[in-house]
């Protein structure tokens, strides 16, 4: 009887557990999922909470209810993983043994690593929508906001959902326009990257949107400190090289890290607590029996739910290979697919992988949703997606017409016969 232990009952952990349970007979493998709480939050919904378009209750369901029959759920905090003895020590003292370990514990926010956000209470007028409580508090702050400078700041990468700060800016433009206050509100996106969009085709197609919506962008800004209201009532972001951006309301995306237990587990993670992972087989780089899915990995994909979904199919195949003593397949292509809410009932869709940047066209084929173009259809898609998340993605089903590998048909700039040829324009040669 093999022991499959999955740490984390979020998007990745749940879909892997459900997929594996279908593949493995109950007398062949026990599957256990461990999580410190029983509240599964549909995180893409958090973006809409500050604008009164979603309620935290509507986007939260019990974790254990998303797991199929024959999967054990243990609600417990994790103390550490002992790779040598293949055991996991839980905070309550229980020791769990594993034959295969899946790390699916995601990323956590570590605001305290930024000066100014290190106290138990943040400075006044500094908010985040990356937690349910934060999103609700921000909703109240936005409702009371009558004019001034709003800054949306990514402290540094990596973050979950790199498009969310841009979406927030788009929605803020829509929100204040609807309230008749847009002329009195200044919206600025402050990013450590050298543009809101760094990929050539995205930049070409989407920078116009930022300009049209009068969203300012401050680039190459590495925030060293967040200072609350001073003598003139404004707060300010201060970069490591001494630049400042003043604000009347700041929406901060704090630094992210892996979960704390990773740092307590010798040999498991890197300095940020993410787990070094083979970006094609999804095995950890230190132990073949340890697999990693979703935000917990250090791989160069975006941290996004769609990535966990596309990884799931490959990861489960590789676990089965591993259990059978077969070589694992280096099959994951980095496929990522994201809706970008642009306000006014419209959204964009982007689709890309390790080799191919976001391109125009349609997804998943010529007769699909428009890529890199605002459309109401995409907005409807984004809203419908929550249903698909609970009813298809988490149960570990493939979505109709969409396989794990990034589709090439229907995209502009790739050969019509669908064989991958285009590499990212700026040139990226993989070492080794």
């Amino acid at each position: 009887m093999k022991q499959i232990l999955i740490l984390g009952g979020g998007t990745g952990g749940t879909l892997v557990a459900n997929r594996l349970r279908r593949e493995l007979a109950r007398h062949d493998a026990e599957i256990t999922v461990v999580d410190q709480d029983d509240q599964h939050v549909y995180q893409p919904g958090l973006l809409f909470v500050p604008f009164g378009r979603a309620d935290p209750d509507e986007i939260t369901r019990p974790r254990h209810r998303q797991l199929h029959a024959g999967i054990a759920f243990r609600r417990a905090a994790i103390e550490r993983v002992d790779l040598g003895s293949r055991t996991v020590l839980l905070a309550d003292g229980t020791v769990l043994h594993y034959d295969v370990l899946v790390i699916a514990t995601g990323a956590r926010l570590v605001p305290e690593e930024t000066e100014g956000l290190d106290a138990s209470a943040w400075p006044e007028r500094v908010h985040t929508f990356y937690t349910p409580a934060g999103a609700v508090a921000l909703k109240d702050a936005l409702a009371a906001f009558e004019g001034g400078r709003i800054v949306v700041n990514i402290i540094d990468m990596p973050i979950k959902c790199p498009v969310a700060p841009i979406e927030f800016s788009f929605l803020a433009d829509w929100y204040f326009t609807r309230r008749g206050l847009r002329e009195r509100v200044d919206i600025t996106l402050v990013t450590p990257l050298d543009g809101a969009f760094t990929k050539a085709v995205c930049n070409r197609e989407l920078s116009g949107l930022l300009a049209d919506k009068r969203i300012n962008v401050v680039t190459e800004f590495n925030t060293g400190e967040v200072v609350g209201a001073g003598a003139d009532g404004a707060g300010r972001l201060v970069s490591f090289d001494g630049r400042e951006v003043a604000f009347d309301l700041a929406v901060v995306i704090p630094l992210h890290a892996g979960q704390a237990y990773v740092n307590r587990s010798p040999g498991l993670g890197d300095d940020l607590g993410f787990v070094p992972t083979d970006e094609r087989t999804l095995q950890s780089k230190t132990r073949p029996e340890v697999f990693v899915i979703g935000d917990a990995a250090d791989i160069r994909t975006s941290k996004a739910g769609s990535v966990a979904h596309f990884e799931g199919e490959i990861l489960v195949r590789n676990i089965l290979h591993f259990l059978a003593g077969e070589p694992t397949e280096p099959a994951f292509d980095g496929h990522t697919n994201c809706f970008i809410e642009s306000g006014f009932g419209k959204a964009l869709l982007i689709d890309f992988n390790y080799e191919v940047e976001p391109l125009t066209g349609h997804f998943p084929s010529r007769f699909g949703l428009p890529l890199l173009k605002e459309s109401r259809l995409n907005h409807a898609g984004k809203l419908a997606f929550q249903w698909i998340y609970w009813h298809a993605l988490l149960p570990g089903r493939d979505l109709p017409g969409v396989g794990s590998a990034m589709p090439e048909r229907g995209k502009a700039g790739l050969p019509a016969n669908g064989t991958a040829a285009t590499t990212i324009a700026a040139g990226h040669s993989r070492a080794g």
């Binding site: 940020l272 070094p276 700026a426 040669s429």
Partner: protein, 105 residues
């Protein structure tokens, strides 16, 4: 894709001057690239960062952020900005002959 000459050898670079093929880089080129970026002299600490940049690129397929540099390279963020005043993550990537650290979108 433009070509430039460092240490007497032609290398291909992106439009904003980053190496597109890190294997074309040699240590001899670093001081030349650094001078073009306004860095006069490469000290031990500079080299520590350069080696770290190349190692990170090898391991992760992309250059590190300022935060990772500050945590893991052995050089503090304050020192990093002193060594590479125009922005350590980008400048050190250029000097180390690796592509620009990139965003996902």
């Amino acid at each position: 894709m433009p070509n430039v000459i460092y240490a007497g050898q032609a290398v291909s670079v992106s439009d904003d001057g980053f190496f597109t093929d890190p294997s074309q880089w040699t240590e001899e080129m670093a001081p030349e690239i650094a001078r073009a970026e306004g860095i006069g002299q490469l000290t031990e600490l500079h080299w520590q960062v350069i080696k770290f940049m190349r190692h990170e690129y090898q391991e992760k397929g992309t250059g590190p952020t300022v935060r990772v540099l500050g945590k893991t390279s052995g050089v503090s963020i304050k020192e990093l900005y002193q060594l590479f005043p125009k922005g350590p993550a980008k400048t050190a990537a250029k000097v180390a002959g690796i592509p620009k650290p990139r965003g996902c979108i």
